[in-house]
Every structure is written in C-alpha cells, then in structure tokens.
C-alpha cells in the first residue's frame, strides 16, 4: 500500500496520466470505506457507552459515591408503600445500591485466575512450540483450539455438576486440613460454590485462549533466537526463559490482558458456580462470591418488576462500571505494548 501511495502522489504532482486517473478513484474509495469502517467501530463503542450512561444517569445521581463504597445491595421493598428519594430521583422504599461486593468479586476472581493461568499457559505454549514431539503437535494444537471454542455454559455446567462437589468433598477438606494455617485457605468450605470454583472454571476457559495467542506470538519470532541461544551453550530452559520470552514480551502481555478481559466479563459459567453472594465479602477462597457480570443477569428478573425503574438503572450503572474497568485494562494493555515497542525500537 505504501508504494501505491507514493506512486499516486508522485503521479499527481506531474501531469495526470490516464493510468493514474484510473488509480485515484480506487484509492479514494478505499480510503473512504476504511475510514467509515474505522469510524463505525469507534462510534459504536461511543454510542453504547453514551446510551448506557444516559440510561444509568438517574441511578448515578440516586446512588452517588455510595455505589462504589457500600457493600449493601437492596432493590427496596417492592410491596411497601412510599418511595425513597435521593437527589431528586426515586427508588422503591428502602432501596440502596452498593456494588463494592461485586466489583471486589470481579477483580479478585479475575486476578486469581491470572495467577493460575499465566504460568500454565506460558509453559504449555512454549512446550507446544519447542518440546512436544512433532508428530503430536497438530493434535495438541487442535485440542487447544477446540477448548478455546467451547461455549461458556458448557464449562459452567461441568463446573456445577463435577467441579463443585469435588471442591466440597475432596479438594476443600484436603486444603483446609493441610494448608489451613495459610490465610484465606482455612475455615468453612460450604457448598463448594464460591471463589475457588469460579477461578478454576475461569482458568479452564482462558488458558486455551492464552496458549493459542502466546504460541502464535512465539512462532512469529524466528526460530533463530532459540537456536542462537542454544548454540551459545544455554540449556533449553535458559533459552526459553532468557531469550525467547523476553523477545515476545509485548505479545505475551497483550494475551494476558486479553485473557483478563475475558475473565472479568465472563457471565454464565461464573453465575453457575460462584455461589451468588450478596451483601457479604468472601472469608476464604471457598466462600461464595459474586461478579458484576453475574449479578446483572441474576438480578435482572426482579429489577424488571421495580415500578420505580431504579433497580434496572442501577444494573445499567453496574454495566458502566464493568465497561470502565474493561476500558482501563485496554488502555493499560496499549500503554505496555507501546512502551515495549519503543524499548525494542531503541535497542535495534
């Protein structure tokens, strides 16, 4: 495209040849179409956020800062008389919406998921590229891609039927008896629905995605870094960790953030195993939690019957918060990528 660009400009500076005339409209159309496509993409995000904020505005005023600091979520007494009025906006009597429990649950479950899945994914990606025997590689790659494509409710159902009872009856008792002295690993196990169940399910869901993206990034680097490092006498472990991984740092960070975004936004699978905590923070890794995405789904049904509409609008405000968190993650991701690119640029 760059050469075409230069050619077009060079031609138009001189006398326009018939061939150039033919080329310019194509160039124009291409630019206009891609420009519109770019605007639509950008515009869609803007329009979505705009409508979300407009819809949530009464809730933003009604809830104030308490939305981010309070841990009590109460849609109010739908069958009571009167209303609660704050800042000129009304909710059902006794209504107060604090999202701290859900924000905490979203962030903590996504972070713990990263703690488990980042090292595992890196290990799997590296072994897929360097150590898995060539004959098995296509099969292993196909399996990873298959796992990445499984719908989330399937993971959720498996989690509810298999994983949750296993946590309640085997994993939980084992951890609390052997490692219970470590903070947040001891205490009540409860039903098995909870933080650790969500984290395990989320890890299962994001590991294939991270493996696939990291593997592609490593493959895009030529094999020469690995081979050069080996030639200099390093072990394959040293070659992978000291030479290959640093060279693909930006790509790896991007895939981690992609996975984080997926983990924090996952709804159905989490809803099925998280234990849907409300008004209470987890006491240990087995305690029920709740996430923003899950609570929007589970509370929608009752919010629909709120005659003041404030419950629905507060759910929209929750959606705004999730939107903002995702946006922040993306901005950080871009910043890291750019920083890494610049650092690499200086080196070369």
């Amino acid at each position: 495209m760059a050469t075409m660009d230069m050619a077009a400009r060079g031609d138009s500076a001189k006398v326009l040849s018939p061939a150039a005339l033919q080329r310019i409209p194509a160039q124009l159309i291409f630019r206009v179409v891609t420009g519109i496509a770019a605007l639509v993409t950008f515009g869609l995000i803007f329009v979505m956020l705009f409508f979300l904020v407009v819809y949530a505005y009464p809730a933003i005023r009604f809830n104030g800062l308490e939305f981010l600091t309070s841990s009590i979520w109460n849609i109010g007494n739908q069958y009571g008389s009167g209303v609660t009025t704050r800042n000129g906006f009304t909710g059902a009597p006794g209504a107060s919406f604090g999202a701290l429990v859900f924000i905490f649950g979203s962030i903590v479950s996504a972070l713990l998921t990263m703690v488990i899945s980042v090292p595992l994914s890196l290990a799997v990606a590296l072994s897929l590229v360097y150590t898995v025997p060539r004959r098995i590689r296509p099969l292993a790659n196909a399996l990873v891609e298959l796992m990445a494509g499984i719908p989330s409710v399937v993971y959720g159902l498996w989690g509810l039927v298999v994983l949750v009872p296993w946590i309640a009856n085997a994993f939980g008792p084992f951890v609390t008896s052997k490692l219970g002295w470590i903070p947040f690993l001891g205490g009540q196990i409860g039903s098995g629905n909870g933080l650790i169940a969500s984290v395990f399910i989320l890890s299962l869901m994001v590991i294939p995605i991270m493996v696939a993206t990291t593997r592609d990034v490593i493959l895009s680097q030529s094999n020469s870094i690995f081979e050069a490092s080996m030639a200099l006498g390093s072990s394959s472990w040293q070659a992978m960790t000291r030479a290959v991984l640093p060279s693909v740092r930006a790509g790896v960070v991007a895939s981690i953030l992609l996975a984080f975004g997926r983990a924090i936004g996952e709804t159905m699978a989490v809803l099925m195993v998280c234990g849907a905590a409300i008004n209470v923070f987890p006491q240990n890794i087995f305690s029920p939690v709740n996430t923003i995405a899950a609570v929007i789904v589970s509370q929608l049904e009752s919010a629909l019957t709120d005659s003041t509409g404030m419950a629905q609008r507060s759910l929209a405000e929750l959606a705004c918060v999730l939107f903002v968190i995702t946006l922040i993650i993306n901005v950080i991701a871009r910043g890291i990528m750019r920083g890494a690119d610049r650092a690499e640029g200086r080196k070369s």
């Binding site: 009590i72 979520w73 109460n74 849609i75 007494n77 739908q78 069958y79 009571g80 008389s81 059902a92 006794g94 409710v153 959720g156 159902l157 509810l160 039927v161 949750v164 009872p165 309640a168 009540q188 409860g190 039903s191 098995g192 629905n193 909870g194 159905m268 809803l271 099925m272 234990g275 849907a276 905590a277 409300i278 008004n279 209470v280 987890p282 006491q283 305690s287 029920p288 709740n290 789904v297 589970s298 509370q299 929608l300 049904e301 009752s302 919010a303 629909l304 019957t305 005659s307 003041t308």
Partner: protein
C-alpha cells in the same frame, strides 16, 4: 441458563409471529413467565390444542419478572407469575391478576441421618438461620422444637441456600418469615429478590433445579423449593420439614394441609384476587402456599386474540382444574368461589 435461551427465543418467536410468514392461519397466543407454571402450561396447552385446532399457544419458562413485564408491554398475552403485582406496579400499569391454581413450597434440608424423618422448623428459627443468628444444627432453638431428635442433631454448620435469581419462591418464603417474625419483617422484608443478611456461609443458587443440586452437594444445607420439585428433591435424598403454622402446629405440605390453608382464605380473597395465602389461620393449614397467577392486560390490542385468550383461560379454570394436570406438578385446584372470581376477571378482558 434456560432463562437466557428463552429470552433470546422470545425475540425470535415474536419476530416470526409478527412477520406473518407463518403457514398457520389461526390465532397465535404467547404465554411466558414463571418456571413453576411452565410444566403445567405445557400439559394444559397440549390437550387444549387437541380440542381447539384454530389457536396456537406458545409457552415459555422465562421467570415471573419477564412474564409480568412482557404482559405489560403487550408482547405476551399471558404473563405467568408466582407473585401478584404490587400496588405501585398496579398504579403504573393496571393488570388483571388471575389465579389459575394453588402451589406450595417445601423447606428441604440435608442433615445426615435425619433426611428420612421430618424435622420441625418454624418461621423464627428459619429467620434466625437466614440472618446468621443460628449457625449449627445442634443449636438450642432447633433442639427445643425437635425434642425427639435432640440427641441426633449434629454439630454441623448450617448452609442457608437462597435463590440468586428473582423468584416467586423467594417471595412466598420471605413472606412466611415476615409474617411469623417481626424482626425479619422490619429488616429484610419480602420480595422476589431481597437484600439477604450478610451471612458468610449463605449460598445463592439458580432456579429450583439449582436449589436441589446445591442442597444435595452440601451437608448441613437448608433450602426453600417449589412443591413441583418435590419428586426431584426426594430423589436427591433431601429431607423436608414440618413447618409451624399460625396456630403453632407443625404441619407437612400434604394436599390436605395445603387445601386447608386455601380454604381458610378463599373467603378473604378480594375481587382483584391479589392476596397472600402465606401463614393462613387454621389448625392444619400449611403455612407456605400461594396462588399461581396469569397476569393479563384487560385491554388487549387484538380482538381476535382477546377472544381466544378468554376461551383458553376459561378452559384452564374449568377442565384444566382436573387432577390429571395439577397432580403431575403437585398443585391443587382452586376452591369453587375463587374459580368464580377468576372467571369474573377473565370476562373483563376486552
């Protein structure tokens, strides 16, 4: 999960019905809402359509809240709901609340060694459990109402399970706590979703199947489950409690006791039939029962649909009360006087 799927399907069905691209020439009706009523609606509709080939009724289990809002929006002709509309909602959008059947709710528990007997539980004890004041099964307050099993009650943590999604079952369960326990009434109160007290062991589960599944997984659990899931709860090996009624007697959700509670309140049912049947008076009245409602807009947009809607509801209130339909989901027929009131409401549909 089924709810989401149903929501997506609802849109599709509406789009198809509106498109006029169907080969079916008769009238289409859409019923959506309560997952407790859904199995009964399917039994009803299957037989009704054998007699009436000119009407096509689509049924959906989407949850009471969706049913109510889609009936108000005019998307569905029947919004099935376990709860009647609140005054504030009636003011915004006056709808008919037409009882179709009587349902009940059992309190299931999973206490090893005691699942084959019926422990006694009361409103104040359940309120204590759900607010975190009563923490273990050998608590003195539980022993006091279960003297015959006092030595067998284990020192086991209680895990109170509640619905994570909005639910008519939460509505009637919290009504029982509110009516029997002043501190609950002044605190969390009742509704299809409530602000549950902060209890770290409390678990939220999705739908009645999720309640049964979670309770089965969890030793020490207590859960409220719609009576149409009695068979599933039994298969899961869970026990169910005898509940203390207004007269102080502990009673089981047998058809006789549920019927006694319904009979105690049929005379008190107002013309618009919005009444709670929970904590009914009477020596044998089972304390957690409710009317299952069809929420219907009295002013239908389409005359032909209104006529077919009236015919179907009238059939449900007469032939539909047969125990071959209701018995399959452990519902009970409406008392005669209530059927008359429901029919009077059906006649208001225009």
């Amino acid at each position: 999960m089924r709810k989401m799927l149903a929501l997506a399907l609802a849109g599709l069905v509406v789009a198809c019905a509106g498109g006029g691209g169907r080969a079916f020439a008769g009238t289409n009706l859409l019923e959506t809402g309560s997952t407790l009523l859904y199995p009964l609606m399917n039994l009803w509709v299957a037989d009704y359509q054998k007699e009436h080939g000119d009407v096509q009724i689509t049924t959906q289990g989407t949850g009471s809240g969706t049913g109510i809002s889609q009936a108000i929006a005019g998307v569905a002709q029947i919004g099935a709901s376990d709860a009647y509309l609140a005054d504030a909602q009636m003011k915004n959008s006056p709808m008919l609340n037409i009882p179709l059947a009587i349902s009940a709710q059992q309190i299931n528990y999973n206490v090893p060694g005691l699942n084959n007997v019926h422990l006694n539980l009361s409103g104040p004890v359940l309120a204590g459990i759900y607010s975190g004041a009563i923490k273990t099964w050998d608590d003195a307050k539980i022993k006091a109402i279960n003297k015959q099993y006092a030595s067998k009650l284990p020192h086991l943590d209680i895990v109170p399970v509640h619905r994570a999604d909005g639910s008519g079952d939460t509505f009637i369960f919290t009504q029982y706590l509110s009516k029997s326990t002043p501190s609950w009434s002044n605190g969390p109160g009742y509704g299809t979703t409530i602000s549950w007290p902060s209890v770290s062991s409390a678990v939220g589960a999705n739908g009645n199947p999720g309640m049964v599944q979670t309770c089965q997984n969890t030793k020490g659990c207590v859960a409220y489950v719609g009576v149409s899931f009695l068979d599933q709860a039994h298969k899961a090996g869970l026990g169910y409690a005898a509940l203390q009624n207004k007269s102080g007697k502990f009673v089981l959700p047998t058809p006789q006791n549920v019927g006694a509670a319904a009979a105690a309140l049929d005379k008190h049912t107002p013309q618009d039939e919005r009444i709670s049947l929970v904590f009914a008076p009477g020596a044998n009245s089972y304390p957690i029962i409710n009317y299952e409602y069809a929420i219907v807009n009295p002013k239908q947009q389409d005359g032909a649909k209104a006529a077919e809607l009236k015919k179907f509801l009238d059939w449900a209130l007469t032939k539909g009360q047969n125990s071959k339909y209701l018995g399959a989901v452990h519902f009970l027929p409406l008392p005669g006087s209530v059927v008359k009131m429901s029919q009077a409401q059906v006649n208001k549909i225009k």
